[in-house]
Symmetry: C2
């Protein structure tokens, strides 16, 4: 397969972890006979510094003409605590999601048997956890009209959803559930919000088309509880943008291995693949960041192209590295820690 | 002191746990020379069944003319999974909050040393946890305009906050922080929402009036993570209505003792005190529900009247019961379990 991949390294540790994912992907391509062309482009604070914009048009053009986007991390402390700054890295992220039509954020949460004690949760609570959130990513209160009135003393944010937006996300959820244990949970706040009632009735309306899938409906506050009580009760969860933002971050704590968790954002054509962790500026340039989440995001990318074996080759190499202790300092538990680059080299040579 | 207390037992286990709180409060009143008049009133599904309304005018009159409200629980399975039913118990709750001006929901989360292993979180993560959420309760997306358009295919919910609403809640947060470790965390999503930016700038504007309080600002997704990673990092947290709904429920899991967690909702005059747990219909009428959260809610009620010793007498009795194993089956760990009524009797006789 010939693949053009846009490479958005971003800020902080982004460039370092992206380098390892490229190395491992190239090893996969060599082994399976694919041909990857990488197309680097600016994003985040790095892009603001260079051209005054977190998601420049040129970057968008590169993404649009690629088959997928591999993304590092964005965020720079100099933009924090100034939410009203005229240009912020986050705006680039939101603009990119909308412009690329990335309406479904896929966030798996699973445990690595060898790392169960990294979790803040007790072992018996998390064993067997293997769930996936599908978060709606281009609608809701993130993109509704917002502003001020009454001399700036009143602020408002509108949350809006259309039936079509809910339907396309929900269908992805049903389809994903069909490839897994056929259980789907719709997370909403239908006892209070009209948008949630639209979500619930739309999902209910699709149930007949997927008779094998068992659907449950839970309120977001109940899920926020149960997720840390009995995470293994869940399989596929679908939810709106803001609930998804909160719950996927909460869920990322379960495994205790945030440095290992990949994600995908999917839409019409071009998928975006990125680790769930941030830009971790304190670690930038030190060759200590864990590259595995980004490497596993590359595995999701191959899988999304229908290249299941290629994805598995990456996952196997990561599992082997974990079992053999080829890990960065966040996972080394006082034993010898490898550098970011050394973990990448090891993974590439074990493909 | 002469006290008139409205008694809203509600649904499910509500009446049983309320009975114990009344018994214990009467014991406190007898010991400290107070005179309590209890005024029962209908609410929840019980009120819908009786008069077709979850928060009848008569109940409101009784609450209005009382010094405080002691509340059990509401909710009945026959109203679940039908979020579009014309009358629902939750509507009564929202109407009551608004009508009584209960704009601040106070939810403490603390651990009982003898119950640390009940938590799904590891002991070393939760030791020393003692935090309080102040959730804004009468504004935001709960009360903004909501509806449908485009032939019901588009739904919307408006989130609105005024500077005054934020100010009064934030002041309560600063004042509470002053009585504790002087740390306040404002939880928002100021990188995306205009209402959150109003929250953040309003709280920033109050900082100078409370120079001793150290204020931090964190995004709601980050708090959803850190709360289950390092809960003891937090002290007082303030947040808007919907974030508070999600995060206080998440926080309730930390202690592993939801059956012990009280809450208060405060506004101008009349406070409302209730356990955080629900109506637990499966347990209703079986004399197995844990009454301690409701009893501790009565302790918060006394404390809110400035009767600190009375509150402490209740807390001491509860701690003693926990240490001596006078507990209901949720906490008895296979040892002898006491009934709801027996725990209440024991607590009353140990005041
Ligand atoms: C940075 C922020 C705008 C973003 C979001 O809220 O979507 C982030 O938290 C995420 O989840 O990707
Ligand atoms: C029942 C529901 C409307 C309510 C809320 O969302 O406020 C409940 O979850 C709560 O937290 O008291």
């Amino acid at each position: 397969m010939k693949l053009n991949i846009a490479l958005l390294a971003g800020d902080g540790i982004g460039p370092e972890v992206i380098d390892q994912a490229v190395k491992v992907s190239d090893a996969v391509a060599a082994k399976f006979g694919h041909d990857i062309t990488w197309k680097p482009a600016l994003t985040g604070a790095a892009a603001i510094d260079a051209v005054g914009e977190p998601y420049p048009d040129e970057t968008h053009e590169i993404c649009k003409s690629s088959d997928a986007v591999l993304f590092g991390a964005i965020g720079d402390p100099k933009y924090d605590n100034d939410p009203s700054a005229p240009v912020r890295p986050e705006q680039g992220l939101l603009k990119m999601r909308k412009a690329l039509g990335l309406f479904a954020n896929v966030r798996p949460t699973f445990v690595f048997p060898s790392l169960l004690d990294k979790s803040p949760l007790k072992k018996e609570r998390i064993e067997g956890t293997d769930l996936v959130f599908l978060r709606e990513l281009t609608g809701g209160i993130y993109f509704g009209e917002k502003g001020r009135r009454d001399n700036r003393n009143t602020a408002y944010d509108n949350c809006v959803y259309t039936k079509d937006e809910v339907t396309r996300l929900a269908r992805k959820g049903f389809e994903l559930a069909m490839t897994r244990s056929k259980r789907l949970c719709c997370v909403d706040k239908a006892n209070v919000l009209e948008t949630s009632r639209l979500w619930r009735e739309t999902v209910q309306g699709l149930e007949a088309e997927y008779p094998e899938v068992t659907v449950s409906y839970e309120f977001v506050d109940a899920v926020a509880m149960r997720l840390v009580q009995w995470p293994s009760d869940y399989d596929v969860l679908i939810t709106e943008n803001l609930f998804g933002d909160i719950l996927t971050d909460e869920a990322s704590v379960i495994s205790g291995s945030m440095g290992l968790m990949p994600s995908a954002s999917l839409g019409s054509d071009i998928g975006l693949f990125e680790p769930i962790h941030g830009s971790y500026p304190q670690a930038a340039g030190k060759n200590i960041a864990n590259p595995m989440a980004t490497v596993l995001s590359a595995a999701m990318m191959f899988e999304n192209f229908g290249l299941a074996e290629e994805g598995k080759a990456i996952r196997d190499a990561v599992n082997k590295a974990l079992n053999e202790g080829v890990v960065t300092e966040d996972l080394s538990d006082g034993a010898k820690a490898y550098g970011t680059k050394e973990v990448g080299d090891w993974l590439a040579s074990n493909i």
